[in-house]
Point group: D2
Chain length 439, copies 4
């Protein structure tokens, strides 16, 4: 189904050659100021033709809000969005139409539906992402206004060119120790990088030295009629604590779902990711420490390291959420390819035309907006729970194992009084068999 | 929400110390033979205490079907399943209860709900996975009977000990070429490994030499009161073509969601995965070739390489689906840890008891059964589409771009006549501008 | 949420004064011929200004398919639909804006969202129904082509003018007997009425004598600046057996949901309805009889009476499904009304302008198309089940209580072999305690 | 699917002769005190054998909470519930098994699934309602504690015996006027009736004189081996304003869905219901008036009549919600019935055993608890919206058509400041074309 989300729901429609692509976004809270321009920003960062290292075409995807706002304010009703397609005519066919393009969706769409759009992959087209980018742009606006949430993604790797993710080169480090530590440059980017810094570089890799090498590699691929993949890192800052739903909708699980739904993605990792598989538990655990709150006026419980990537037990813990998404190289290349036709006969497929040698720079806003949709959905679900629990009478006689001290209530803890509440706990402990729970 | 799936839906309940854990499974087709034993097999592979390198406790998780079958056959109605908990009493508290355990769900559950189960993470407990393993065992049985689908997972890595995934050691290969190629041993495992081979090894790593080293590493971690993570590779063979729903529910996106919902997971990659980010498009594309069908009696359209991992454009293409899941080390260790209490004061947390130094062997059936749930759900959705489309009158005048030749219908192609149908296409081609579609 | 359906899903957007109203329809099977005209038919029956007894305005709601078809055939991907609004400007305000209109949605929308569209009820506007009528028109087309399903609704009552539903007037019938029996005219309409007959009458009441009286009553209401409600009866013929999902999504429950979601509706009854509450069980039960099949070539199991309204245990039984929907009079009238302002002060509200004295004639296509959406959704769900069960091996040793004789399989019965299968049952019965099951 | 609800979700399992019936309830807010006894109350009102006019069997349905609570408080995680079945053995078969019972679910279940439980209707059994009654009992407890919501249902009609719903007997009233007005007795019951009053009568009809006649009628039906239906009226008091989701999930639409999902129901009407179809708009509209708040300390905007039944535009308006549900007579009777066997041959079906002549008294708690589930779900959805909107900055420059005066915000209005806010509106009105919006 072309829908995503539970409380913040996005529905999209549209292929490459139909009249328009668009979306309906349900669950936008009322009272949010919102204009076409708020949405256009991310659509423009996504559109083709922004530089000569992505597609050289200069289309412009202009969005129009159809419903759900009045006087520039959301009504709380569904927001309809439309972006016209420039090329609305199914094309004539040629000999290439008798080949399913390798690693493209031609074959699988035909097998799934028994027919296919003339453009081949139909909804597998990157053009479909317009609707979700628009939906995510609205979510971003709400999250920033309501919580100060910042979501920034950047290209960390294109082909074999990558930001130094680890502390040292694999060649001369202590393999028992140093290779497990993120490099200072990478940590710095996760902690501080802004969209402005990202957009300064044509590659959207905010590490200028790496960006230069990336650009050269992409130009080389283009010259060779070839294509290349890469990875995008995304960080979510100031995310509220308590987001994510056990057990199936853990926050990282929904993020993974969202990211792997972006065309051409092949992998997702959160926090320590696959590298976490190599680190011993005693080192991987993130100890708790008292930290200053964001406004600097108080303290809160945080962690001193962040291998967890801001999520523990599937629920956000208030630290930065960061993850990495792997993209394969685009399937459409102008090199000749030996492959079979639909009828099984082999032949040479030559696809002319201008193709995107590397989609990574344009995928940055897609990653950000899909992340925003996930966080927004989790926020709306958690706000329902917290607001409803707050209506109940205080519970005053629960044991400290449930960590509700005598004078504090569920709603106070939900409102952030965890630390204060905890201070009043009766510390006269009883003996306990602390064997592990059943698993 | 504790539900997963669209047409095949699994709902679970239960924490560590409540009366029971269980599940309701909705959408099981009627007429499937099914007994407790069919489900127990995977539950027994999941349960603690199978060997001294996982938890030494010898519990037995015995499942009872409550509803939805009669005379050993499914009725098509929801199947209720229950597994009793042995330890149903909330424990008394002790000083450890004033610490949120590092990288555990204690802190986040308290922040999310304003209170927490005495066992801490509540639904983040591995015990919650019982319900899904049971649900997946039913799905596996259907998929095997209906399509011959085989799902086999195995431990490929524990800590830094791993099966040689790549062709050679990074030390002495041609970095422009050979490191991109999967090793023969790994490819062989993906192509042929069986559950019997996996279960022969105490580590569930079916590469005996690696398994021995893994076992040693796990015993060392245990001796050191430490824990370690690893990776699990899973392959799905004989998967029907056409599974997966554009755009948000691409098959790999739902698999990623399912895998990242398993406790302790940190990463997911399908086919070439993150390595695919480094391979040029001209090499990464999987050319189509004519292949023998599974029964050897005919031919079908397949691919000669499988970087796609059996999925193109989000939809299964009939090749083996394989993916890898990364697990962090378990958070609960017996080493002393410096960390903060809920009230922010720092202290030393010492958790006694017997803990699992490495959950990977026990996670193998969880990965398999979650994969089965995903495939089952996709099968039920696609069968609805194909059966409904087959009721429509034949379409006979569509252009070859939609690849429906004059004498074939949508339903015939859905039934697998793609190759035959394609033979009759009129090859008198017209000129076409084959520039890329809008993106 | 502005979504309806499970496997056939409709999402709508739009208010009275926004740019456009529209819908995304997901789950349309591929290979259905479909053009704007197929959808326009029902939209035109719904639009205002068809006659002077509904609104006199002569707007034309022209629909454009945005996506999901090519060369006039559905692709299986979501269908985007748009109808432009003529009046896209929020109006200036006047004194009437300080009154919540009685029995309108002004007050409740403001209370729900904290603000409201300038037109008041926002999504409560009848204009919102355009999207669902369009979605239902597609469903109708599929159902007719695939199964010959006919859905016909008609106005049975306007105000106190009604078709004689019961056999005789309450005045002179045998109260113990005759009042329970539907009149011959009404039964005849349920059995045979066509849309052509319905559209012949300006009132869409296909009982000409009653229609004349209705028209007079509506004109009188209009002259008096008043409004009136009524009831619509709908019949679904040739509906496949086996539709509807236990327990919450019984077919009549989803029909009731669909009908009560239409603006101004106040009641729903299926089959015998509220009158069924008065009939004794011995009379209300519908006995089974052998009936000819629709093509006249064979026999099938049917019922001799149809108090059930074509649904038993929540599942369609193959007889005609018929139900009745009650509508209140429109809230907007031009008479002066004494009522309170938002601030609680009382005053006189005078709403000028042209208003619909009776929405019933225009609601007929809305009832039909909502019914079509419900049946379509149930068909897609049941086809998934039947097609999946058909893949399993035959079961041959089940007891006759499950009514699967030795040589027949679940899939054969699902394909309609129920009667044939039953013939082979071993009739050598065993004694049984036939006390009632637990309830 | 055996699931109901969006934010408050109920999943049930179980047939008549399986091991147990039960439910998983997801979305219960944390911090609610809850024990088995809280749930048992309504289950005991539902169970068979409460009096000799319902089934004489004396089973006891004893519920056990399996998960989701600790120390008698909800954790916010799913609540698993189980009720053991007494009779867990599929029965032997006899000649009655070759008949599909008239108006029962035997035939349709077999047609739907290709096989059926030995008890026939499977999930159509009234026993299935146990899970939902339990789920609703939890919802009731929350709604009472959080908002003071009272839900009371009662039997208003059994067969032809009914409470005088209308002002006078049809015989001698003014047909233009009086028959439209609810009787004082009925209005009184809607306004004030309590569960205690309802339970005082064996029939659960709190109108003692009518109750006596009902009892006699039910005993007569029982003596005659016959069965009878009736109607249940339900009122929801103190329901928060703003519940219900446009457009498809209008509050009355979801209530209708919930009620028609109860076995044996044939009709639903809200507020004026079908009678509303006969009343002119000028009379049916509910004028707004200033009313005292529930605590008597302030005033609020209410309506002087309540034909709307507490819902306008699909959203609750703060007045009492009342509706009526029609039930057919139970299909299982001990009279001999002429009907056909599965193979089409005709015969005489004689079902011995003790049967329920009238299910109405036992259905009262089912109606109440299903209503509670609907309201609870709507509350959780609305709380998400209100809590999220409250995080946004105040909007201060919107026109009065959106009714947000200069000094009030969306969140203030959502918190109930509607009347106060409205006082500050600038009343210097501008001219406006108040023609109706497009429809």
């Amino acid at each position: 189904m072309s829908s995503f989300g539970t409380a913040y729901r996005v529905h999209t429609y549209g292929e490459s050659h139909c009249k328009s692509v668009g979306a309906i976004i349900d669950g936008v809270p009322p009272g949010l100021t919102l204009t076409n321009e708020d949405i256009q920003v991310q659509l423009s960062r996504r559109r083709p033709g922004q530089s000569d290292i992505t597609t050289p075409r200069s289309e412009y995807d202009s969005v129009t809000i159809q419903s759900g706002t009045e006087h520039g304010v959301t009504l709380g009703t569904p927001i309809g969005l439309i972006v016209q397609n420039k090329d609305q005519r199914p094309h004539d066919y040629t000999e290439t139409d008798f080949f399913p393009r390798p690693s493209h969706a031609d074959f699988t769409y035909l097998a799934k539906y028994g027919l296919k759009a003339s453009s081949g992959g139909g909804r597998a087209s990157a053009r479909e992402t317009i609707g979700r980018v628009a939906a995510g742009a609205i979510a971003e606006k709400f999250l920033l206004e309501a919580y100060g949430v910042e979501i920034v993604a950047f290209v960390g790797q294109a082909g074999k060119v990558k930001i130094p993710f680890r502390k040292q080169d694999p060649a001369n480090l202590d393999p028992e120790e140093d290779d497990e530590v993120l490099s200072e440059e990478y940590v710095q980017l996760i902690n501080t990088v802004t969209r402005e810094q990202v957009d300064k570089e044509i590659t959207r890799c905010p590490h200028p030295e790496t960006s230069k090498r990336m650009e050269a590699a992409i130009r080389a691929a283009k010259a060779n009629n070839d294509s290349m993949g890469g990875t995008i890192t995304c960080v979510i800052r100031n995310c509220p604590v308590g987001l994510g739903e056990p057990c199936f909708d853990k926050l990282e699980a929904v993020l993974a779902h969202a990211m792997l739904s972006i065309p051409s993605t092949k992998g997702f990792e959160i926090g320590s990711g696959f590298r976490g598989a190599e680190i011993m538990g005693s080192k991987h655990n993130d100890p708790f420490v008292e930290k200053p709150t964001r406004d600097g006026k108080g303290t809160r419980l945080g962690t001193s390291t962040n291998w967890s990537g801001g999520i523990q037990g599937g629920i956000s813990n208030g630290e930065d959420i960061y993850f990495r998404v792997g993209f394969k190289p685009p399937a459409t290349i102008s090199q000749e390819q030996e492959t079979a036709r639909y009828d099984g006969s082999s032949g040479t497929l030559a696809t002319r035309g201008r193709h995107d040698p590397c989609v990574l720079p344009r995928a940055v806003p897609i990653v950000e907006t899909m992340a925003a949709i996930v966080i927004m959905d989790a926020v709306l679900q958690q706000n329902s729970r917290a607001a409803s629990a707050a209506l109940l009478a205080p519970l005053t006689h629960l044991p400290p194992t449930m960590v509700i001290p005598s004078s504090k209530t569920v709603s106070q803890i939900l409102a952030g009084d965890l630390k204060e509440a905890s201070k009043e706990v009766d510390l006269s402990v009883k003996p306990k068999d602390d064997g592990p729970a059943e698993q």
